[in-house]
Subunit: 250 residues, 2 copies
Amino acid sequence: MTNVSIEGLSLGTHLYKEVKQKILDSLRTGEWRPGAVIPSEKKLSERFAVSIGTVRKAVDELSAENVLIRHQGRGTFVASHGRGRYFFSFFHVVHQDGVREYPSVDLVAFSRGAADPEVAAALDLDVGDKTVRFTNRLSLRGGFVLLDEITLPAALFPGLSERALRERRSTVYQFYQEHFGISVIKAADRVRAACADALRAQLLEVPKGHPLLHVVRLARSFQDRPVELRHSYVNTAQHEYAVDLLGDRV
Amino acid sequence: MTNVSIEGLSLGTHLYKEVKQKILDSLRTGEWRPGAVIPSEKKLSERFAVSIGTVRKAVDELSAENVLIRHQGRGTFVASHGRGRYFFSFFHVVHQDGVREYPSVDLVAFSRGAADPEVAAALDLDVGDKTVRFTNRLSLRGGFVLLDEITLPAALFPGLSERALRERRSTVYQFYQEHFGISVIKAADRVRAACADALRAQLLEVPKGHPLLHVVRLARSFQDRPVELRHSYVNTAQHEYAVDLLGDRV
DNA sequence: CAGTGGTCTAGACCACATT
DNA sequence: ATGTGGTCTAGACCACTGT
């Protein structure tokens, strides 16, 4: 741990930010895969030639951002979109009695298309770039509650097929991660009130004109790269979209 | 910084948590008021007889929770509900073009009443305890966009008058803080889609039956004490309710 | 300039999990 | 017993702010 520092180095930079970046690089390149342990803090400190405290600070931030997960005595793991509490960081629909529940899913539409200007702008594509679109219908307590209309950049999901989607048993984001190496680590939701049109009313089995939540989500991976645009329609007759403001974490 | 520790002390406890608690105590008792600086980390470390690193860890958490705000070179300040970026931690309605804007407010209703079972459960009161109710109408870009129907426990807001509310020029949470010493530091929102009833349609100048967002918020102060129940109705014709999931902070 | 928070180090010790 | 993350210390140095 020599305090080696070529003169003039580390001007305007922060060691722990560099360490954080190097860790993210190793995640992006797949050196450490989702669900796996990463090297101990001691080893990382040797590898990056910094003190343990500096590694800790980098890992602190990554774990605060849910990119890494620490387990005392066991090690530090790469976050995966399994069915842990993490799932509910991205699934905000709860029953009105407050109970969280995993939805069951059926695929009701699948198609390929080209990005229109709106999609292109959101996903950082050129107009006309190939996209994949599909719609999931989610059920809670046996009733249809949610319609997820999802648009993906085809380039990031090579070979994505309707069949693979239909046969998947994991969550959607877990599926992205395991099959295409794409980790959704943040997202922005924008919520509006809307009335059900004929098609969506039929799929959700509500009267046409029934009020629905319309949620537009843009999900991002490392380096803020947008990877998914999603329009969700929620029947809030018995469910709600729940958000915690401040407090420890999302 | 003697490592004084009566034997057996600090079993199952964490020093920095104790420090955090002591800081919160000083906030609750009003020793350090909103907007003011608190003592430097050095002084705190002497006062609590711990190392600076331990104080830093306590302050780290409090500043992550937006209870304290650090300014390098200036000091650490008690968060206040002024019109800083903090305001938008609790005001999530943005124009559909993404621009955030401060609303203008007018008070359209004020009354006193007693807690019904629902209100009592939410605010941790007994049924029949006195409450204050009022409704704010918020405008953005010259149009009525939001109706905030607010219920407060009268005991926590002694002497709250319609006139004081009407003449206030600060934000609502700033008003609570400055006049009643109540700091809202977290809240939970539950969002549903609804249709405007006659009264609310009239106030928001939309057709009866127009789809609205219905947001139920429970706001809390220190120690998770519930201090405000709020029903908001949002016209999302040109605005949206925006939420960031994960990423650095709210 | 002095004082503040921010970074970084180096090491001791604790709590927990696995072998 | 070993190795992991978690806490705590003590101090050096940097970057920023106000006087």
